[in-house]
């Protein structure tokens, strides 16, 4: 069985092309089932950044043509943006994808779940099942053994991480949204996904008048209005702090010009971050992710190598099995010939002879078996298998 990958991603195709071949779960499942006919295996990984078809088939050329044709039928212009990989390179690519190393933001965690779903929806057999299981294992290992996924990769994620740095668990923490820009909505969504609640969205001027009362209650303020000047003065916050009895207040100012008086950050128990602070944090954490990516690449390469060794050993498994069967056949035939002598032995002596002859066969075949598996991993497996077949006359009886 050969492993073939045909696909496209954000590295090769702009969004106008990628959207032509983007598939939802049902479509991906149908396509994998169609490609997985006639004894093939197929999995379709489709996310906003990539659509990739993994096919396992005896004939790699045919599998590649079928996969490319399937993608071309979705978007005729996609052909020049397709990449094609086979066997070792295809597996290594899959492992990198699962670990988030091929993602737009290195180490992003969503892709691991997407690969898992693709595996579940695919038409898998022994090869693809093993490839995807090991890829998911590699992805989890990278996340466990490196810090690649720990730091926030966007302004909204940085805001949420800062909130956790101040409050710990965000369950039952309340957010006040001052204005509702795209980034502030993302930040609020991020905080909500971690358990926080939005208590007030103050868009209009009337709503903003309620801020003064609410400031005494909320834990996080996210500001992103289009107001030309400051919306929240230091005196207002200082007054609210008296009613807060020492409770901490995190303020995130995403607006330009700024909505929140910079002097607020000097008040006891107030932590103020503006858009520049958050962007600098993201730049720093992205550089950390890139550094961690080097360690992650080494983990992925080691895991991909293990898969390659297993895959390559499949080439020599039939030859090894035939060799062992032939040896066992000879051993039993020779014991049969010696039956007249062995008949005089009692049961325990007979068992000892059986054990000794079996041991001799095993010891003789151990090294050739190991060497053939090693040769398979080094791409000489087929040659060795042929040589063994020829030297021991394996399969000649059938002819």
């Amino acid at each position: 069985m050969r492993l073939v990958l045909v696909g496209t991603s954000h590295h090769h195709a702009p969004v106008e092309l990628r959207e032509q071949v983007a598939l939802d779960r049902d479509q991906a499942q149908v396509l994998a089932a169609r490609l997985g006919e006639d004894g093939r295996e197929a999995v379709c990984v489709s996310t906003c950044n990539r659509t990739e078809l993994y096919v396992a088939a005896p004939d790699a050329d045919e599998a590649e043509r079928a996969a490319a044709a399937a993608l071309a039928s979705l978007g005729p212009e996609i052909e020049p943006a397709l990449y094609r990989l086979r066997d070792r390179a295809a597996a290594h690519h899959l492992f990198r994808v699962a670990a988030g190393l091929d993602s737009l933001v290195p180490g992003e965690g969503e892709i691991l779940g997407q690969v898992r779903v693709a595996h579940e929806l695919g038409t898998t057999g022994p090869l693809l099942d093993r490839a995807f299981r090991q890829a998911l294992h590699a992805g989890r290992k990278v996340r466990a053994q490196t810090a690649i996924g720990e730091s926030p990769a966007s302004v909204s994620a940085a805001a949420a991480a800062l909130a956790e740095q101040v409050f710990g668990s965000l369950g039952e923490r309340s957010i006040l949204l001052l204005g509702a820009g795209k980034v502030s909505e993302q930040a609020a969504r991020n905080l909500r996904s971690r358990g926080a609640e939005i208590t007030l969205v103050a868009n209009s001027k009337t709503e903003r008048e309620q801020i003064h009362e609410r400031l005494a209650e909320v834990d996080v303020v996210i500001a992103s209005t289009n107001a030309p000047g400051l919306v929240l003065e230091v005196a207002t916050v200082a007054e609210a702090l008296r009613a807060r009895r020492g409770r901490r207040l995190l303020l995130i100012d995403l607006a330009v010009p700024r909505d929140l008086d910079p002097a607020i950050g000097e008040l006891d128990g107030c932590y103020l971050f503006d858009i520049d602070d958050l962007e600098q944090i993201v730049v720093e954490t992205l550089s950390l992710r890139r550094r961690e990516a080097e360690r992650a690449e080494a983990i992925v390469a080691a895991e991909a190598e293990k898969f390659h060794e297993w895959h390559a050993s499949l080439d020599v498994v039939p030859a090894i099995a035939s060799l062992r069967a032939r040896a066992e056949e000879i051993r039993e035939a020779e014991l049969q010939k010696a039956e007249s002598l062995l008949g005089r032995l009692d049961e325990s002596q007979r068992r000892a002879v059986e054990a000794v002859t079996a041991q001799i066969v095993n010891k003789l075949l151990h090294l050739p078996t190991v060497r053939m598996k090693q040769a398979a991993a080094a791409a000489d497996g087929v040659l060795y298998a042929e040589a063994v077949r020829h030297l021991f006359g394996l399969g000649e009886d059938e002819r």
């Binding site: 730091s151 940085a158 740095q165 409050f167 020492g246 000097e266 128990g269 944090i281």
Partner: protein, 262 residues
């Protein structure tokens, strides 16, 4: 035997102190190695205390130096509860160098070897010395948590780009852990000190400098507890008060014990 346990324990604590320093600069392996240093060092020190107790036929806390040995063990024990967790590794940067320094002082005073049996009863040593030192270990940990709070809050206010590089406990968590530690430690000190006072009165002894400063320490930590529970104190103010309380603990443990044990 005691020598065979003391030096490896000291070495492992020293390795942990250096490891935590390395972890501060490059978080990762150095921190993990340091944590294992603390664990193994603590096991060896536990064995050391066991050997001392067996050889002296009683608890070996009858001198200021040997009580300092016990104090180090209690501080490291308290640290181990949280120190193994990654966000709290930085606490080790405060706790482990302190543990090393105090263990060296304890050795210089002859507190880590085998001495003669104490003239205090075992019950008195456990209830008075044991409880008072356990409380002081708790205050030390609370002060370390408070120090970490002040440092982390300062970072949140100066907003460096590297603020999220290191996994740290949340401010709210540090604050509440310090409170909980003190809430356990104050009753221990109260009970331990009451037993000591009872003995003092029964024997007609005089109040020495250490007893007076211990009483002041007790008052400061009671005030901490009261202000936090009923006065609404949280955060930086409470952290500074904890650090002030710890300064008194240092005086009690290092400057005055010789007079008391004499």
């Amino acid at each position: 035997m005691a020598e065979l346990l003391f030096w490896p324990a000291l070495l492992l604590y020293g390795e942990a102190a250096v490891g935590y320093f390395g972890d501060m600069r490059h978080p990762g392996r150095a921190g993990r190695v340091a944590t294992w240093g603390v664990r193994f060092g603590w096991l060896l020190q536990t064995a050391l205390l066991g050997v001392q107790a067996a050889r002296e036929d009683g608890f070996p806390w009858g001198t200021w130096a040997s009580s300092l040995d016990l104090f180090v063990w209690l501080v490291v024990s308290a640290y181990l509860i949280w120190g193994c967790r990654r966000p709290y590794r930085l606490l080790g940067l405060v706790v482990m160098p302190l543990a090393v320094a105090l263990l060296v002082v304890a050795r210089a005073g002859g507190g880590t070897g085998i001495g003669s049996a104490s003239h205090y009863s075992n019950l008195f040593l456990v209830v008075h010395v044991g409880l008072v030192l356990a409380a002081f270990a708790g205050f030390t940990l609370a002060a370390a948590l408070s120090g970490l709070y002040v440092w982390e809050e300062r970072r949140l206010q100066t907003r460096p780009a590297t603020i999220l590089r290191r996994q740290m406990p949340a401010l709210a968590t540090l604050d509440s852990l310090a409170l909980r530690t003190v809430a356990w430690s104050v009753p221990l000190l109260t009970l331990g000190a009451a037993v000591g006072l009872g003995r003092l009165v029964a024997r007609g002894d005089r109040v020495d400098a250490l007893i007076a400063v211990t009483a002041a320490t007790w008052l400061v930590w009671c005030a901490y507890l009261g202000l936090r529970l009923f006065g609404g104190w949280t955060g930086r103010r409470a952290a500074y008060l904890a650090l002030a309380g710890f300064a008194l603990v240092v005086v009690v443990r290092l400057a005055l014990p010789a007079t008391h044990f004499a």
